[in-house]
């Protein structure tokens, strides 16, 4: 029984893909409660399992372990009281705006007349009157997402899940749509009892939600619950607002750990293999140069995101790379360039490559890769062989991304060579 007003409860949810040696944990032991009247945001880096969690919550996917309780009862199949608004809108391109909303009602067996009336009313409420007969391809991203919202509202869901609904919109439409969502929600005009928003935009989460659930990856898990006790409408320049944003950044960016923890262990060895953040060297160099130009070579990560106009996910990955290479340190939400980072930022192209090469030689994953290549016949290995070996630590997709990143970095540092047509990795003879 639902003793209190808990709408949704997740108990020890885990999601594991694959089996045996190559299994990979996407989500580990997630516990989460959502009460009636709550607007919660799930936030975390790409790959932390936010979307998977939403699919589990709505019943699109059954978790490997754990229980989903909805109003105190275990969820069986798709939850008829929940719905999702998708990042990519998921509208049927061959149906008009109105038909897109109506089809959701049709599925529930609602008679034609009522269907049409309700669809028109909802489109009116999201400000799309006049566009009923338009096809999705005629509309802008912001308007498409309004249709997405109208369709979701049409089925009067108690639980509204939003899967990065603003991420593929331009800045201005995203902003106005956020405002309209809040208006609907705080105005109490909709039967929705709770909203769960998955996003990687920290500011957006703080702007909208009453509670922020911070997740981390490898494996996907909840690392912090943070209440946001600010009245709506929230002001982004408000020091209290900035303070909350800063705190989330602080948790997500973490602190630079002692070197052996930062580096992790080689694949196949006990201990956690440090995954390489998927970034390009040019972006990293850009970040370092920017920091080099600042007084004290230091910046508040939150302010950095604002000024560089990059999304928080990408920025956090770049920062992770800078920490890993020893070019910067992170503490209390601030990033500071090390003297090595400063040297790198000011060096010529040639010396940058040399610095980079000496730095990645320390990384266990590179040492492992180079010793494997060194021991191989003709000092070369096929991509597939290396990927299979990496799959002992990462799931297939991630292993591929790791290898791609490693080759990218190794080529830049002139330590590795790769022949794309034969898909073979070599040790760069000059690099040995």
């Amino acid at each position: 029984m639902a003793a209190d007003n808990n709408l949704l409860e997740l108990k020890n949810i885990s999601q594991i893909y694959g089996a045996g040696e190559q299994s990979f944990t996407a989500i580990q032991d997630v516990n989460l409660t959502l009460r009636e009247g709550e607007f919660a945001a799930l936030i975390g880096p790409t790959g932390c399992g936010k979307s998977t969690l939403l699919r589990i919550i709505t019943g699109l996917q059954a978790p490997t372990a754990g229980q989903v309780l909805y109003r105190g009862r275990a969820l069986q199949g798709v939850n008829p009281h929940a719905t999702i608004v998708f990042q990519t809108f998921a509208l049927f391109p061959w149906l008009t705006v109105q038909e897109n909303v109506e089809v959701a009602l049709r599925a529930r067996g609602i008679p034609t007349k009522l269907r049409t009336a309700r669809a028109i009313d909802l489109l009116d409420r999201v400000g799309l009157d006049g566009f009923e007969t338009a096809y999705p391809r005629e509309l802008s991203g912001g308007m498409l997402q309004k249709v997405g919202f109208a369709r979701a509202m049409a089925v009067e869901p108690e639980l509204l899940c939003l899967d990065e609904p603003f991420s593929s919109l331009d800045v201005l439409s995203a902003e106005s749509l956020r405002g309209e969502l809040l208006e609907l929600w705080t105005g109490g005009n909709i039967p929705t009892r709770a909203i769960l928003l998955a996003t990687h935009n920290i500011e957006e989460a703080v702007f909208l939600a009453d509670r922020i659930v911070v997740m981390d990856k490898d494996p996907g898990r909840v690392i912090m619950n943070l209440k946001v006790e600010l009245a709506h409408p929230r002001q982004r320049k408000d020091p209290k607002f900035i303070d909350v944003v800063d705190r989330v950044y602080m948790v997500l960016a973490g602190h630079t750990q002692p070197e052996h923890v930062e580096l992790g262990t080689a694949p196949g060895e006990p201990g956690r293999t440090r995954s390489l953040p998927h970034i390009t060297i040019d972006d990293l160099a850009g970040l370092l140069e920017y920091l080099d130009g600042l007084p004290n070579n230091r910046a508040d990560i939150y302010a950095l995101a604002q000024e560089l106009q990059v999304n928080s996910d990408d920025l956090l990955r770049l920062i992770e790379a800078a920490e890993l290479m020893g070019f910067a340190t992170v503490a209390y939400g601030d990033i500071t360039l090390t003297s090595l980072g400063e040297t790198f930022a000011e060096a010529s192209i040639r010396s940058r490559k040399e610095i980079f090469a000496t730095r990645i030689r320390r990384l266990p994953i590179f040492q492992w890769l180079r010793s494997m290549l060194g021991a191989a016949d003709k000092k070369q290995l096929e991509w597939d062989v290396v990927q299979k070996a990496l799959e002992l630590e990462f799931h297939a997709e991630e292993a591929e991304r790791q290898l791609e990143t490693a080759i990218n970095w190794g080529r830049y540092a002139e330590l590795l060579a790769y022949d794309d047509s034969s898909e073979v990795l070599y040790l760069e003879p000059t690099g040995t």
Binding site: L60, V78, T83, F89, F92, L95, V103, R108, S421
Partner: protein, 574 residues
């Protein structure tokens, strides 16, 4: 004018390496052929052909007969494709073997089944029905595989979020089919239907004109009319026949396929309006007609709504059910084992029948296969020699394309088999007669695929690359070597695979023919199959058909797969 992509977008499965599944599939096919032959043993010795009337007045009637066969076969194909494709897409256990089967059937020369199907059907059904049914069945086997593959591919590539949306909003089977699966597949289905019809004409003509020895399997229709006209050397009748054929094909194109294409534009997944949507005058007339609109509003729409409601209520709304669907497939395994045992027994019997084929006959099969292979290669080389320069010229030159493209399309729309009797009339008297006619027929059937694909490849070369090669002042040869040949390579390979498939098919009708009361034949596997049919040598028929299928499948796997990979991985301009 943007080059219309018709015929280019034939969905092709990625050729897979040989697997155990191929063995099973081949065993299955061998057993099927053997079963057909066993049934065919009872086929009547003499089959009387129909009287073909050569007066132009009967042409509408003949055309309607031919079209009727095509339409029946097409209907059958669509139903079969959807059932088969859905089964393969929704059942993991069946998917593997079903895909291998699809792959094999799509690449073997189906026309080699023609004598077999005719024999076995005429043993079961009364003569006229047997011939009609076997032509429909044969056209069906030529049309259905690419449709099936298109449907399967659509089902498995539906964007995940659309699928999730339909699940989260609780669509039932009908609603999902109507609002998601069918619209998503529509464009690919229409393009593939067009390709299927083009292929179907080729088979229809072959089915209408085929006869072996005392067995005259001909059917009244446009194909038989053309053959009879050529037989009698009646040039006026030939012209009338060709006119009727081209008219039928063009009318179908203008009145059915073009409007469908224009209409299906709404099913594009892209979120932007396309610059050059396919247009159709007939579709515009249709849409703007008051009468049609009235009809639509008064009868069609209410009927459709009623049907929709009825179907909607037939399929229950999905009830809450436990997590992921894990259907138990144990009964299927049992069935599979039983079928497998049956297959093995029949295969054993087929093996025994093959045992009666003498060494000399095996030798002649080998010689026949080599001779036909040489012909196929000759046809391919000739086709490449002229289609590459012309295709590149059309593809890179807008002005040339504007007037050449429609012309080429009309010429190409005439099925090569329909022209074969005419061809015989022209070259049978020359030295090398039938041999040359056979190569010419293969060429006629194959060159268009190549030409269209090369045009498509050449017109897809990005303008920047053309500018760059001009700026670099590359010489003529250098330009071909570094830009044009690599750019058209993947397209040429796709075209060549289809073309060679067509050439093997053509060998069945081309190497053995009865013309002007006389029988002409040349060395080749097609001649061997037809002769075996005429003589009632069933063991030889089985051996020859199987050898042909195995040879072609092996060449596909070993040679074309290599080129296809190479093209996909190294030369894709994307």
């Amino acid at each position: 004018m943007k080059l219309s992509p018709r015929l280019f977008q034939i969905a092709r499965p990625i050729l897979r390496p040989l697997s155990w599944g191929d063995g099973v599939v081949f065993l299955g096919i061998a057993v099927l052929i053997y079963a057909g032959i066993r049934v065919g043993l009872a086929a009547p010795e003499i089959i009387q052909g129909p009287e073909i009337n050569l007066s132009p007045g009967v042409l509408p009637y003949y055309a309607s007969l031919s079209l009727g066969r095509m339409f029946a076969a097409y209907l059958l194909s669509v139903v079969f494709s959807m059932v088969y494709g859905s089964l393969a897409a929704n059942h993991r256990q069946m998917e593997r073997i079903m895909l291998v089967l699809l792959d094999v059937l799509q690449t073997i020369p189906i026309l080699s089944f023609l004598p077999l199907v005719l024999l076995s059907f005429s043993a079961i059904f009364p003569q006229q029905a047997a011939l009609e049914l076997s032509s429909i069945f044969l056209i069906f086997t030529s049309q259905t595989w690419n449709l099936t593959f298109a449907w399967y591919q659509s089902l498995t590539t539906i964007p995940r979020t659309l699928f999730q949306a339909s699940t989260i909003f609780g669509f039932n089977t009908w609603l999902r089919f109507k609002t998601l699966e069918l619209p998503f597949a529509a464009i690919s289905l229409i393009w593939n239907s067009m390709a299927s019809w083009a292929g179907g004409w080729f088979f229809l003509m072959a089915a209408e004109i085929f006869s072996a020895g005392e067995r005259n399997f001909r059917l009244p229709g446009l194909g038989a009319y053309l053959q009879e006209a050529a037989n009698q050397g009646d040039l006026t009748a030939i012209a009338w026949g060709l006119c009727a054929l081209v008219l039928s094909i063009v009318a179908l194109d203008q009145l059915v396929w073009r409007p469908l294409l224009a209409w299906s534009e709404r099913f594009k997944m892209q979120m932007v309006e396309s610059e050059n949507p396919p247009a159709s005058w007939f579709y515009d007339v249709f849409r703007n007609s008051t009468l049609i609109n009235l009809l639509h509003r008064a009868i069609l729409r209410p009927t459709a709504r009623w049907l929709d409601d009825w179907l909607m209520s037939r399929f229950p709304l999905p009830v809450e059910q436990g997590g992921a669907k894990l259907r138990r497939l144990r009964p299927w395994y049992l069935l599979g084992i039983l079928v497998g045992l049956g297959l093995l027994y029949e295969a054993y019997q087929a093996g025994q029948m093959l045992g009666t084929v003498s060494l000399k006959q095996w030798g002649s099969i080998g010689v026949g296969l080599s001779a036909t292979l040489l012909r196929v290669l000759a046809a391919l080389s000739i086709a490449l020699a002229w289609t590459v320069p012309l295709g590149v010229a059309i593809g890179t030159n807008q002005r040339l394309a504007v007037w050449l493209q429609p012309l080429v399309q009309i010429i190409a729309s005439v099925p090569a088999t329909a022209l074969f009797p005419v061809l015989l009339l022209l070259v049978l008297g020359l030295p090398g007669g039938l041999n040359m006619a056979a190569v010419l027929l293969m060429l006629l059937g194959t060159q268009w695929y190549l030409l269209f694909n090369i045009i498509a490849g050449a017109s897809a070369i990005p303008q920047e690359l053309k500018y760059t090669s001009t700026l670099l002042q590359l010489g003529r040869w250098e330009r071909w070597r570094t830009l044009i040949l690599p750019a058209i390579f993947p397209y040429a390979i796709t075209g060549a695979i289809t073309a060679v498939g067509g050439a093997w098919n053509a060998s069945i009708v081309a190497e053995y023919t009865q013309f002007g009361g006389r029988t002409f034949k040349t060395t080749g596997i097609g001649a061997l199959i037809a002769e075996a049919t005429a003589a009632g040598d069933y063991a030889l028929l089985l051996a020859a058909t199987l050898s042909l299928l195995l040879t072609v499948a092996t060449i596909n796997r070993l040679v074309w797969q290599y080129f296809y990979r190479l093209a996909e991985e190294e030369y894709r301009l994307e």
